[in-house]
Amino acid sequence: MFKFLLGRLVQMAILFVVFLSLVWLLLQAMPGDISDTLVGNPSIPLSVRLELRESLGLSQPLHIQYLTYITNFFRGELGVSFSRYPQDVSAILWTALPRTLVLFLSATLLAFWLGFKTGKLIAWGRGAGSEKGLIVTGIFLQTVFYPWFAIVMLWTFGFFFGWFPIGRFIDARLWQGSPFNANEIFGQMIVSVIIATVIYVIGRYLIKRYARDIVTQTRLGQGLAAICVGALVLFWWLHPAAVYVADIAHHTMLPVMTLGLVAFGATMLLTRSAMLETLGEDYILTARAKGLPDRVIRDHHAARNAMLPVTTSLVLALAFVIGGGIVTETIFSWPGMGLIFLQAINVSDIPLAVGALSITGVLALFGHLLADILYAVLDPRIRVA
């Protein structure tokens, strides 16, 4: 196992250097540089623009620029953003990454959970009247033109019903003069959710270990979930920044819902087809012959194996954080990685753009590794010796 991991890590490192170089070269191939975006400004003469190029190191030969960038990158210095001049790229990305990750993780996890449950049920009750409708809805959600769908969602729930704010991360008027920093509060929110999740997972493990039968396990699990969510809500309710926390949460809901609906369709269809394949296996027949209750066969024999492809797709979805993020974040004006990447590309801000893409690369690489490991955990047959 250790040898396998080590081999994979070396392979990943090589792949990452190739990826980084390729991305850097591609971005260098874009016509014009940051100084060209100032051409239209009459108060900036040519000499100043040339000076700007000189000071940013853009007049050096390409291979020297490349070597400087790569060596600095692996020293942990992602450089300084051209378009937001004195700011460090890593500082900009560090504030943007949590926002994107939260948006994506909550949407994907929610969609995964609901989609898996629904997919499991429609595969089990094959031929029921609701099956066709759910399948068609699922396919439509999967193939819908996403920017258009997001616009329609924004209009329906943000404008027509007015339930949610129209885009953005916080309400600027509310936060004006507030004693709190939005990024710090957001960070604390993430930490609190992580703590609650860890407690829940440990609790689930203990329940599984010590509770006698499946019915007690399920009941205790549901109770634990309710306690964790309740404690989380109560903690923030009594917190002095409760209004601001509610504001951030309120702004998060609509983008999560939109992204989640699309992912829900895909997960549901995938679970359904995976379930149908497992239901044809011999061990399902054996389980039936033993006289096990339907629910046990469905949840513990069939669904656990159907989880395999679904888990992989969930982990691989991590790789598309920026890709999917660009559309969602543009339409909901959500200041995350995708929006920052698009803005960086528009003004040839190469350090910022490469920085954003490199983070996607890292996420994708670890996503693939995690998918392989999870595969081995879930399916003992392919466990690497």
Partner: protein, 384 residues
């Protein structure tokens, strides 16, 4: 050693023996009348091909959703064909051109009063009038309103209204259908061509060729497609053909190649491949005659999904205004956004809904057909 004499059927034609081809291009067959006739090889192949297509069609046509998707695709095809015909016959190019056409719905208003207080809240039209010093109360002014709602009568009816620049929405919609089909076809063919070749070669030769191609596939999977295309559209002048080729190459060397390789690997270990090699077939003969034909059904399946992906990606890119093409569905939504009608919702429905639904339904249709084909190829998915 003595072999039983081959069954002679016609003494006058000693080369005619049942089962053994008389030459490379024809074979003997029993006819309906009970005799034997020489049939050209291509006709036999054609008949077998037709028969397998017939079986597949019978299976596919049982899938109601798949048939619905096929119907939708045909509807879109009719839409695509109808645009040049309509432009040549019924529609005046000056009014109905999808990019340069213009038609204004002009309404005449009588000016009632002059607003002197600068703080009075007035709409944009009134503000324009106020800036014009020649207009006094009582005068009649004609104001063009754009975007205009659908009209079904008049000299130049606009069945889906016009956009903010006075261009006919229906014409734009029909024109874009053609380019969507074109792009989908280019991307899907490129994907399948490359992925089938890469998959078959990697599976057959194995070793460092397999390793190299698969690491390359990993590298491409690592690239987030949309950001890379955004960068590429800044480097190149993106036209439909170029975009189709790029999408095709990226997905052809990436995920699809990996799936087709595993399918080809399953074929490579079959005994008929060994038999072909023992019989003296060259590497390329085995690849083209035995491996690729057995991977092709799966390739066609990925072609359908490839069309869906390509159209969705193209529409997203043109929604961001990154493509150098005259008109697509994505550009229609982009221009609605640029003119400030993004959150107009149902009051300007003809700006957002026709284009958005067209992209969604075309992708939906190809996806349904792909699913239907999946059930034909993969018997496990069929209903019990």
């Amino acid at each position: 050693m003595s072999l039983p004499p081959p069954m002679a059927v016609d003494d006058n034609a000693p080369e005619a023996r049942l089962g053994a081809p008389a030459d490379g291009a024809s074979a003997l067959e029993l006819t309906d009348a009970g005799g034997l006739a020489k049939t050209p090889m291509w006709r036999i192949r054609w008949r077998l091909f037709r028969r397998s297509i017939g079986t597949m069609w019978a299976l596919f046509s049982e899938n109601r959703l798949g048939m619905f998707g096929l119907g939708l695709i045909l509807l879109f095809a009719v839409m695509a064909i109808s645009h040049p015909i309509l432009m040549a016959t019924v529609w005046d190019p000056g009014v109905y051109d999808p990019v340069n056409g213009y038609d204004a719905v002009v309404t005449e208003y009588t000016v009632v009063e002059e607003i002197t207080d600068p703080l009075t809240e007035i709409d944009l039209q009134t503000a324009r009038l106020r800036l014009n010093p020649t207009i006094k109360p009582g005068a009649v002014v004609s104001i063009p309103t754009q975007p205009a709602p659908p009209t079904i009568s008049g000299e130049n009816p606009h069945y889906l209204g016009t956009d903010a620049q006075g261009r006919d929405i229906l014409s734009q919609l029909l024109y874009s259908t053609r380019s969507a089909f074109f792009l989908g076809a280019v991307a899907a063919f490129t994907t399948v061509f490359i992925a089938t070749a890469v998959g078959a070669i990697a599976a057959y030769f194995g070793g460092w060729i397999d390793g190299g191609l698969m690491r390359f596939a990993d590298l491409i999977l690592l690239m987030p497609l949309l950001p890379v295309l955004i960068v590429l559209s800044a480097v190149f002048e993106m036209t439909m053909v170029l975009l189709g080729l790029i999408i095709g190459v990226l997905s052809g060397f990436g995920g699809v190649a990996i799936v087709l390789k595993s399918q080809a690997l399953a074929v490579t270990v079959k005994s008929y491949v060994d038999a072909a090699r023992v019989a003296g077939g060259s590497d390329w003969h085995v690849i083209f005659r035995h491996i690729i034909p057995n991977v092709l059904p799966l390739s066609f399946l990925f072609m359908m999904f490839g069309v869906t992906d390509a159209i969705a990606i193209e529409s997203t890119l043109s929604f961001f205004g990154l493509l150098n093409v005259p008109m697509t569905w994505g550009i229609m939504i982009n221009s609605a956004q640029n003119n400030g009608y993004l959150l107009s919702g149902t009051s300007f429905w003809w700006l957002l809904f026709p284009a958005g639904l067209a992209v969604s339904f075309l992708c939906f249709a190809f996806f349904l057909v792909g699913r239907g084909m999946d059930e034909v190829i993969n018997p496990r998915l069929r209903a019990r």
